[in-house]
Symmetry: none
DNA sequence: TAAAATGTTCAGGTTACGTTCAGATTAAAT
DNA sequence: ATTTAATCTGAACGTAACCTGAACATTTTA
């Protein structure tokens, strides 16, 4: 974990850096707003600690500038003054937390840990297979980068196949996994949905995503890109 | 945004609830740890505010229990005592932030806003998506640079969708996050508000911001500028 | 207190989707 | 080569899900 610490009080800066390094962080320091902002845009930080009262450029402006440039790492504001307006201004500028000096170093590290824990988070729920990509969270599908809109059941079927790439799935199995209650198995719904999927995903049949294994079922072919 | 407020001082509870509702939050309250814990497990909250000193079950235990049960919404701890050990204990139990009484209500709402934004991966209080831009602080909305005035519920709905861009949200989920107490789910309020939003944000339907996924819900489409 | 704005319900119109069907194609079996 | 069964394919249909304008109810503002 790499941190940026922007603090003009050199004694405090040194102490905090020491404490943070004890907690196994890598720490870069800056002593004024300008170089803090520069550093923040140049390196990939996991979090930043920024004093409000800084030479050249004040802390609030640094935070605003970073957020404007779409940097999203967590930021903790340090404020010497015990004025709640300052804290609110910091949070409104895009900071995630603040600490009022003086504070116990344990407080800083506890908050840092909580913030960083939260800012990392869920892996992206995307399944890819060659030109096909599906996002299970947004239930969206794209082929060769362009979106394809599927109906509910079309999507369910595709998702199941994408989750079992290269496995042959019989119509019975597909039916069971797509419908909750048991369903009339004499129906040809699966055939119809497979047809519609093929048409939507691959109108010119140039890929042949879904293979038919007569008597056995269907298979989503694996593409080694 | 739906909040849970657990506070046994009824006067403070009332004041905070009023203040939070002014900020357009839907607020459920509890006055002891036991019912707070129960409520927290029963409804889908976007954040919780929990006092440390509570009857029946103390705040720390409530937080621990919620985190044990895998609830991940942000939690802010209120502490009457000015002891940093208490704060650290709260954070270690799984809280994301704390406030020491007495505090200014503005501080609470500023921190809440920041936390909720952060919890959905949004660092800045301004959320942009193609031609739409909303400011979660001033609750103002603009499309193509010109202001659009929304009613309270219209805004709540839009904000929730903007905080979850590209995610499909069912009418049930939308209802739960927009209203506090449970609400008649047979109603078609969501449909009506979606309709009004579409009309106000995109009168000529040239953008199609909000997509309908039949049987699943609505989705705020991501615009890659 | 009246008027305006907002929230909520209602009812009828519209459409997308799931489902079925029937005939055409294809592959396997004899 | 002929038969048979499995799959393909386009189209049709009925039904919820959704849309939509307006009415009614409630809260806020003047």
């Amino acid at each position: 974990m790499r941190l940026l610490l922007v603090e003009d009080d050199l004694e405090l800066q040194g102490n905090l850096k020491k404490q943070l390094m004890l907690e196994n962080y890598s720490v870069d320091v800056a002593s004024d707003g300008e170089s803090g902002l520069f550093q923040g845009t140049e390196h990939p930080y996991d979090a930043a600690i920024i004093d409000i009262g800084l030479p050249i450029i004040d802390g609030i402006s640094v935070i605003k500038a970073l957020r404007d440039k779409q940097f999203t790492f967590p930021i903790i504001v340090l404020t010497a003054r015990d004025s709640w307006q300052d804290k609110v201004a910091g949070l409104d500028a895009g900071a995630d937390d603040y600490l009022t000096k003086p504070f116990h170093p344990e407080e800083l590290t506890a908050r840092l840990n909580a913030l960083i824990r939260r800012s990392v988070g869920q892996a992206s729920p995307v399944i890819e297979n060659g030109p096909i990509s599906i996002n299970t969270k947004s239930m969206s599908v794209s082929v060769d980068g362009s979106d394809v809109s599927l109906s509910s059941y079309e999507y369910k079927l595709l998702e199941y196949l994408m989750l079992h790439i290269n496995e042959v799935k019989s119509k019975t199995v597909l039916t069971e996994h797509i419908y909750d209650q048991d369903f009339d198995l004499d129906s040809n719904v699966i055939e119809v949905f497979i047809r519609r999927l093929r048409k939507k995903l691959d109108p010119e049949s140039k890929y042949g995503f879904i293979e038919t294994l007569r008597g056995q079922g269907y298979k989503m072919k694996a593409f080694t890109v």
